[in-house]
């Protein structure tokens, strides 16, 4: 087992730069997800770690070894491919043992490793079958099994659940988590599904256009996004973003005003600042934090365009006078109707504030949230 250190990793395909200066330090035994929209470079980063892509610059270390120049097989890394990449003409046993037998592992040891992996993944009765004769979930297990038998220091998983149907995906997610606990080995998991990333990972790397947008625990990403991209990417429905003017009151609070805003919002900083740029800022507020209130005490008013009732909650789509749309999540039984005029309040403690470049100001979190985030961080640290 080992942690992985990536320094200034660059990768370009011809003239297209895919990864531009990635710095990452993943701790030994951690489960880390690479999360991002398609084209953000997450799979390329994974393949660069695997050695399947030649990098254009930078270095990769696994534990104490510099593996930058090593061929894939010498890196002590196993990879699970998105489409499983099982050898279709070999049965499951052969699929698991193929690499080992060609690398001079004694027969008895191969047998033992295959049987152990098969037991862990509950595929012992499938060893004689060919991939064609397996269901999607079973194939997935075999693909993971092929990684396990190699007993690697690092597991790379490239969207391993994306080919499974919804129900199976949830099951496999739970199993992957317990597999990680059981093996205790460092795992890197590529996904575009934030639910997978948030539920499985100790920490998540959010990638955007070839750079790390933020690297932190799932709750940190959710409660303290460092920039507009992460704020908009994490959380569903997406965070509402509204343009405002910012004026400094004192070094830990900023008054936010706008011609569309009734009154002002007083944003509390967790770290003091001396001045703010004059250009328009953006406040972000998650749909579940927007409150439907009486006209007095509201920040904005608008008309309800659509109410999506999901049972436990209702998603209310509101069109503001300015033409902008906002989403509000209310309790499922809230009696709001389509066409109705509603008044919205943005509680200051739930607001995120971004400067004109899209960078977040550090905001004050309530004690409960802070301790939750800290607990997740400690848990992630404890693994190492």
């Amino acid at each position: 087992m080992a942690g992985i250190d990536i320094k200034q990793l660059y990768k370009s395909f011809g003239k297209t730069e895919v990864l531009t200066g990635i710095d990452l330090s993943i701790r030994d035994g951690e489960f880390v997800s690479f999360l991002g929209p398609s084209g953000c470079g997450k799979t390329t980063l994974l393949r660069s770690i695997a050695g399947l892509e030649e990098i254009s610059g930078g270095s990769v270390r696994l534990g104490v070894r510099n593996i930058t120049q090593l061929p894939p097989a010498k890196r002590d890394i196993a990879m699970v491919f998105q489409n499983y990449a099982l050898y279709p003409h070999m049965n499951v046993y052969k699929n698991l043992s193929f690499g080992l037998s060609l690398n001079g592992v004694p027969k008895a040891e191969i047998e033992e490793r295959v049987q152990t992996a098969a037991r862990i993944l509950q595929i012992s009765d499938l060893l004689k079958r060919r991939p064609r004769q397996l269901s999607g979930g079973q194939r997935q297990r075999v693909a993971i099994g092929r990684a396990i038998v190699r007993d690697p220091k690092l597991f790379l998983l490239d969207e391993p659940l994306s080919n499974l149907d919804a129900g199976l995906r949830v099951n496999m997610r739970v199993e992957l988590a317990s597999l990680h606990r059981r093996l205790g080995v460092t795992m890197i998991y590529v996904t575009h599904d934030q639910v997978e990333a948030m539920t499985l990972s100790n920490r998540v790397v959010v990638l955007n256009k070839g750079v790390v947008a933020q690297f932190g625990t799932p709750l940190e990403l959710f409660y303290a996004p460092q920039n507009l991209f992460v704020a908009g990417f994490i959380g569903s429905p997406r965070m509402n973003l509204i343009k405002v003017n910012a004026n400094i009151i004192n070094e830990v609070s900023i008054a936010l005003t706008s011609e569309n805003l009734f009154g002002s919002i007083s944003f509390q900083l967790s770290a003091p600042t001396q001045q703010v740029p004059a250009q328009p800022h953006i406040i972000g507020i998650r749909p579940e934090n927007v409150r439907l209130v009486e006209e007095s005490g509201s920040h904005m008013s608008g008309n309800v365009e659509l109410v999506e009732r999901l049972g436990t909650e209702s998603q209310v789509h509101v069109r503001l006078g300015s033409g902008q749309g906002l989403t509000v999540v209310t309790r499922g039984t809230h009696p709001v109707n389509m066409g109705e005029r509603v008044h919205l309040r943005f509680p200051a403690e739930h607001c995120h504030l971004f400067n004109p470049e899209g960078k977040a100001y550090p905001r004050q979190l309530d004690g409960e949230t802070r301790s939750l985030i800290e607990r997740q961080e400690t848990a992630a640290l404890c693994i190492a």
């Binding site: 894939p72 196993a78 050898y87 269901s135 190699r150």
Partner: protein, 314 residues
């Protein structure tokens, strides 16, 4: 009223008939071609084989006599068959193996792959006679480029087409010139193999040769089977190159079975005998193809193949 209904029925029936007929009309050119130029001659030649059938004059039914003469009295039959078998023993493996190697090479991501692919396929486009003319120049004992090149290396080239020890080999080489077709089929097959299989193999430290043996070849086996069978067939039908390059000589060292059939038919005009020869060739090719096909269950892997009993149970 009732007549109207009847008329409707008739019209409907006619309509349905035409509808059923339409697809057959579309494929009729091929079907007619097959009937008149393939199946008809096939049956006709089978019947001919039991006759003494000169081109002009009386034809007489002789039963199995043609076959008897061929197998027991005519040494040329066995000689020409042996020449053909020797040719096939060289041609078939080289055609498949070289075709595979070329395909593997051309499947690499190198600059100019497209140019190389075109160059290697080009000979397959050239007509047989032109190809033979080119090879006649290449092999020419005194003026040929091959011996010239060998001479540069200090080797005195043999009389390729005039020496019975070399003539068959010369024809094998000339025939292999057309392996572009084989290459093309295998190249298509190679490109349909998912690249993740190779990446997975690279990750687990499977060396290059093992990737070829344990991944490429099994995944390519249906195409290999196809090229193997077509190579066997074309080996046994070898005629043009030998006929034009050596006319069967020297000392009948390149006297192929197809040439034997050809001579019986068009030099000696013994159509019945030649028809019987053709049927023997047909049977040999049929048996060989069946043997290969039978063996294929042991080494050919089909992606889509699955017995119901083996089906996944969820």
């Amino acid at each position: 009223m009732s007549t109207l209904v009847v008329q409707d029925d008739v019209a409907e029936e006619r309509h349905r008939f035409i509808e059923k007929l339409t697809p057959y009309l579309f494929i009729s050119p091929w079907i007619l071609g097959f009937l008149f130029f393939t199946l008809g001659p096939l049956i006709f030649s089978f019947v001919m084989g039991f006759y003494d059938w000169p081109v002009v004059g009386e034809r007489t039914f002789v039963g199995l006599q043609n076959y008897e003469v061929m197998l027991t009295e005519d040494p040329l039959f066995w000689d020409s068959l042996w020449v053909t078998v020797k040719f096939a023993l060289f041609f078939v493996p080289f055609n498949v193996v070289l075709g595979l190697l070329l395909a593997v090479l051309l499947n690499q991501k190198v600059i100019g792959t497209g140019v190389f692919r075109t160059i290697f396929y080009l000979p397959s486009v050239i007509s047989g006679v032109a190809l033979v003319t080119i090879w006649a120049w290449i092999y020419s004992h005194e003026y040929g480029i091959l011996n010239f090149l060998l001479g540069l290396a200090g080797i005195e080239g043999p009389n390729w087409l005039g020496d019975p020890n070399w003539s068959l080999l010369a024809i094998v080489i000339a025939s292999l010139w057309g392996l572009g077709g084989t290459m093309l089929i295998l190249l298509t097959g190679l490109q349909s193999i998912p690249k993740e299989l190779y990446e997975a193999a690279r990750m687990s430290g499977v060396p290059g040769w093992a990737r070829l043996v344990y991944i490429t070849i099994p995944m390519l086996s249906p195409m290999l089977l196809f090229t193997l069978i077509t190579s066997i067939i074309s080996a046994f039908q070898q005629l043009t190159i030998a006929l034009l390059l050596t006319k069967g000589g020297p000392l009948e060292s390149t006297y192929f079975f197809a040439m034997y059939v050809y001579d019986n038919a068009f030099m000696y005009f013994e159509m019945g005998f030649a028809a019987a020869n053709s049927w023997v060739m047909f049977l040999i090719i049929l048996i060989l193809s069946m043997l290969v096909l039978k063996s294929s269950s042991a080494w050919v892997y089909y992606e889509g193949e699955m017995n119901n009993s083996e089906a996944a149970d969820d």
